[in-house]
């Protein structure tokens, strides 16, 4: 065990329960209340999860739909808080969860780079500094000053990915995004993520159903099912276990 490598993500007995309001409007809520129906449904997305991820690791999270994979990413991103237990993270997080969440269709590509950079916590100067790299990487130089509503979905995605990987992330969260885009750009994205992996400064958490990608790309895989961790370790074994279940 290398004890000198710091832990960047730590989950301690994390439980995530959702208590969802069944009714979104008074029209639904008041009759439900009068009839004595349940107004809240509780369900547990994560049951007592503990793990640690060290700096520079590339961890894949696999499991069937609804097993809590995305919830883990959201907890790491700080978007959700655990119902009990503790989540600690160290370093700047760049979430690649469903790209382009902060894009506005009426704004130009360049304006969206500023907006998205700010959402990821960058200062204006830093964004200006990375601007050319982002544009070059995205390969949409000639359209960069046009409103992105005129972009194709591939161009849109390329821009979003370029921003996310150029903000000098320390923790990169990737959720199923590489399924879109043409093969060339996909290869380019993986190349970029390989560079991160080689640098050993960036920790990547990768959620995917593409088991082939997970196996070749990740150094460690967490297999999640029934809201619990069933396996944590070697990618090959994790995938074998997942396929057998």
């Amino acid at each position: 065990m290398k004890t000198t490598v710091p832990t960047v993500i730590k989950f301690e007995n994390v439980v995530k329960k959702f208590s969802l309001q069944n009714q979104k409007t008074f029209k639904e809520f008041i009759p439900a209340l009068l009839k004595g129906e349940e107004t809240k449904t509780g369900f547990t997305a994560l049951k007592n999860i503990s793990f640690e991820i060290k700096k520079g690791e590339t961890v894949g999270i696999i499991g069937p739909n609804g097993s809590g994979k995305s919830t883990i990413l959201k907890l790491i991103a700080g978007v959700m808080s655990p119902s009990s237990g503790k989540v600690t993270t160290k370093g700047k997080i760049s979430p690649l969860i469903e790209l382009g969440a902060g894009m506005h269709p009426e704004l130009t590509g360049r304006e969206n780079i500023f907006l998205n950079g700010a959402i990821l916590g960058l200062k204006r100067k830093q964004i200006q500094q990375y601007m050319q790299d982002i544009i070059d990487f995205s390969e949409i130089e000639e359209f960069i000053d046009q409103p992105i509503k005129h972009y194709s979905s591939g161009m849109y995605m390329r821009l979003a990915f370029s921003i996310a990987v150029h903000v000098n992330p320390e923790i990169l969260l990737v959720d199923e995004i590489l399924a879109v885009g043409d093969a060339d750009f996909q290869a380019k994205c993986f190349k970029r993520m390989e560079e991160f992996k080689a640098s050993e400064n960036v920790t990547t958490v990768f959620v995917s159903h593409a088991l082939g990608h997970v196996e070749t790309f990740c150094t460690r895989v967490i297999y999640l099912n029934h809201h619990q961790i069933l396996f944590d370790g070697d990618p090959h074994e994790a995938i074998k276990k997942y396929s057998n279940d």
């Binding site: 969802l20 409007t25 809520f29 978007v79 959700m80 902060g102 304006e111 700010a118 204006r124």
Partner: protein
């Protein structure tokens, strides 16, 4: 109070995002329609003209016994800040719901969404004021140094607005009906605030209610300082300030208590 200071520090740390969000609102308004910012001016002007006709020519509401201020200016001085209040609240109320895709993906202080909406409305407000200024110059309205009071009055108004906006934005995320309830509240509230009529017309026994309504105090203070050239009622203004700070603290603490589950509720 401590949570307020912490929130201010957080928002300051993320000020780049705040400016980008305000710029986004302002730019998209300008880009989406041919007339762009013209709407911001046209809207209150048309409102002012029609309301002046209804309340001054038909209903003959007096402006002020002592002076002969035209009703349209009398109305406009109150209508513009009222519209700012009402527009800020209704946009802020839906600001979290309309940015749900951001809330479920990236962490940043959520209050930025509410604050940036209000700031964008202030930009609109400043544009709308052009008409008032032109109008006042055309009528050669006398202005005294007391007009500087509008700065602290405006500040109190924004504290009050922000407090309510935080409360409504957070509750609208749980029940989407809150936005409809809010438009009803705003409609009734306008009639309980001396916007279309002068505050002196209010019978003495109801004055207390007006003193406890910060918007009534604020609107009346704008009028006193801009049109009357006098100083505002210090006691009323002080009560309004205290109430506004109280509302902000309550609104913020409610917002913070719900913030953790925003992403669960969308």
């Amino acid at each position: 109070m401590l949570s307020l200071i912490k929130e201010i520090r957080d928002v300051y740390k993320w000020r780049e995002l705040l400016w980008q969000m305000v710029a986004r609102e302002v730019k998209t308004r300008y880009k989406q329609s041919v007339l762009g910012y013209f709407w911001v001016i046209l809207n209150p002007t048309a409102q002012m003209l029609v309301m002046s006709f209804a309340f001054s020519i038909i209903m003959r509401i007096p402006t002020n016994a002592a002076s002969n201020i035209p009703y349209s200016i009398f109305l406009f001085v109150a209508l513009l800040p009222w519209n700012l209040f009402s527009n800020s609240l209704s946009s802020a109320c839906s600001s979290l719901v309309s940015s749900s895709s951001l809330i479920t993906k990236v962490y940043f202080p959520r209050s930025i969404l509410v604050i940036s909406t209000i700031l964008a409305k202030i930009v609109d407000f400043l544009f709308a004021n052009i008409v008032l200024i032109v109008y006042m110059i055309a009528y050669r309205m006398p202005i005294t140094v007391n007009i500087l009071w509008i700065i602290p009055i405006f500040f109190i108004q924004q504290i009050f607005t922000l407090g309510l906006a935080l409360f409504f934005a957070a509750s609208n995320l749980i029940y989407r009906d809150i936005q409809y309830l809010l438009s009803l509240i705003l409609l009734l509230w306008m009639y309980l605030t001396p916007v279309i009529y002068p505050a002196d017309l209010v019978p003495a026994k109801y004055k207390v209610i007006y003193q406890l309504n910060p918007m009534a105090v604020i609107i009346n203070a704008y009028r006193q300082t801009i049109l009357g050239g006098g100083s505002p009622n210090y006691i009323s203004l002080f009560i309004a300030l205290i109430l506004s700070i109280l509302v902000l603290l309550i609104g913020l603490s409610y917002f913070k208590s719900r913030e953790k589950v925003f992403a669960d509720n969308i």
